[in-house]
Subunit: 267 residues, 2 copies
């Protein structure tokens, strides 16, 4: 990577992991965004003064940025927009209507138009995603493999309409498809499902990016909590896309999987 | 319709509607299945003695059957199977594994192989489904039309994997896709969704048959309760497939729609 790196930091552990793994990287702390800093040099920024941020990055010789961590939609003050943001306003308004995906695509496009390279956290920290193979637990049995296959087919069918990062299938029956509420809500729905509808099958959670999802800024993630909720939902195991799903605290996730008697497979 | 008609009756109001609208029709009352009879002549039957049912139907000159009303999966006693059921057992076991759709397809196939015509309730009672057009409420606004369009696209994408009779979209965001738990569970999920995720949009419920669904024995339905739950979920209106969704108690459904300030559109 030529030039310096700056991490545009959101909430959670991810920005710190990227900063810790990339010596000399800068942290961009945006006003109003909660973020923790493990000790990196900081650049203070405001969304309204985007031109100021670009200037500050260039002044430090930064050529690569990484957007890491959860960031709520900003409450913007248009009266305080600098010329860059004023020029960007029409595209911003259109993207705000189009959902988080559209907004993230715009952010990436703007940084790239300004000449910065945009890299994903998984490109800057080893081991954030999983290699293909069984990561924890016993290999899935035939029923679980069939369920995983059907769940993957359902997600593939939804690709063209940009819905569904996760799906639960049990005994061939679809028990839930992730929508805007996220994976935890999906697993809660499965846990609340009348057991008679499952007809004895445990089921499998499959989680993977949507086709066309920009993994640099929007990667599906699982962690120990996901495993705990999957166990509560009675699920036999979890299948994630190799290289396409962040493992939040990998060691704890694998330990939780073993402890719950589930399997975790990347493929 | 040549020959007589017999209604294989399950729970709910539908069998009575078919019997009342088809003078001279017989009601088949299956042991262990809850069903109400508005006064039609009855044929008693047991699942285990399928040959006996076919004989009884033919003895009364019946050439057409209609499966109407909800029927739980029967608890069958293989020891009591007559020769017809014994011969059918392998296909039955396979279908039981394949879900309700496969089971219903088998039941239809068996009646047809025996020479009976199978008709749907909506073919025997006028007005059970809706003609295209606005059935109740004010015409949907632009946002609602866009949401309905997106929900229909999501359901169409799911057609090849045989999932999804219903979907809720609000402001372009998918808030839920019906899975095995049914439409009420979908609407409860939408009602429980953090309002911030909807970003001010009310949303639309679209309900329609899956491609290839056999409407003679398995038609989606809505009723006053569906409308009440849609209203609780904050939804602006409901779009159903013209000719493809049963209106359970049409008058009450339309009245509930008007009272709740929703729209009901068939298209």
């Amino acid at each position: 990577m030529s030039g310096g790196l700056a991490v545009i930091a959101g909430a959670g552990a991810l920005p710190g992991l990227v900063l810790a793994a990339n010596h000399g990287a800068w942290m961009v702390r945006i006003e109003g965004v909660e973020a923790q800093n493990p000790g990196a040099p900081e650049i203070a920024a405001r969304f309204e003064d985007l031109g100021g941020l670009f200037d500050a990055l260039r002044a430090e010789g930064i050529e690569t940025v990484c957007l890491a961590g959860a960031m709520a939609r900003p409450a913007l003050n248009p009266m305080a927009f600098d010329p860059k943001m004023q020029a960007l306003a029409p595209r911003l308004m259109a993207a705000m209507k189009g959902g988080d995906d559209a907004l993230l695509r715009l952010v990436v496009a703007v940084f790239e138009e300004e000449g910065f390279a945009v890299r994903g956290a998984h490109e800057l920290v080893a081991g954030l995603t999983a290699e293909a193979g069984l990561l924890a637990g016993s290999p899935p049995d035939r029923e679980a493999r069939d369920d995983a296959h059907r769940a993957a087919a359902i997600l593939a069918a939804l690709g063209p309409v940009d819905v569904g990062q996760a799906c639960v299938v049990a005994g061939g029956l679809c028990l839930g498809i992730e929508t805007i509420q996220g994976t935890d809500a999906l697993l809660a729905q499965v846990a609340a499902t009348d057991p008679r509808l499952r007809r004895g099958a445990r089921g499998v959670l499959v989680k993977r990016p949507k086709p066309g999802q920009d993994l640099r800024v929007d990667m599906p993630a699982i962690g120990p909590d996901t495993i705990a909720r999957a166990a509560e939902a009675g699920i036999a195991g979890v299948v994630i896309a190799a290289g396409g799903v962040l493992l939040v605290d990998r060691a704890a996730t694998l330990a939780a999987t073993e402890a719950a008697g589930l399997f975790l497979l990347a493929q």
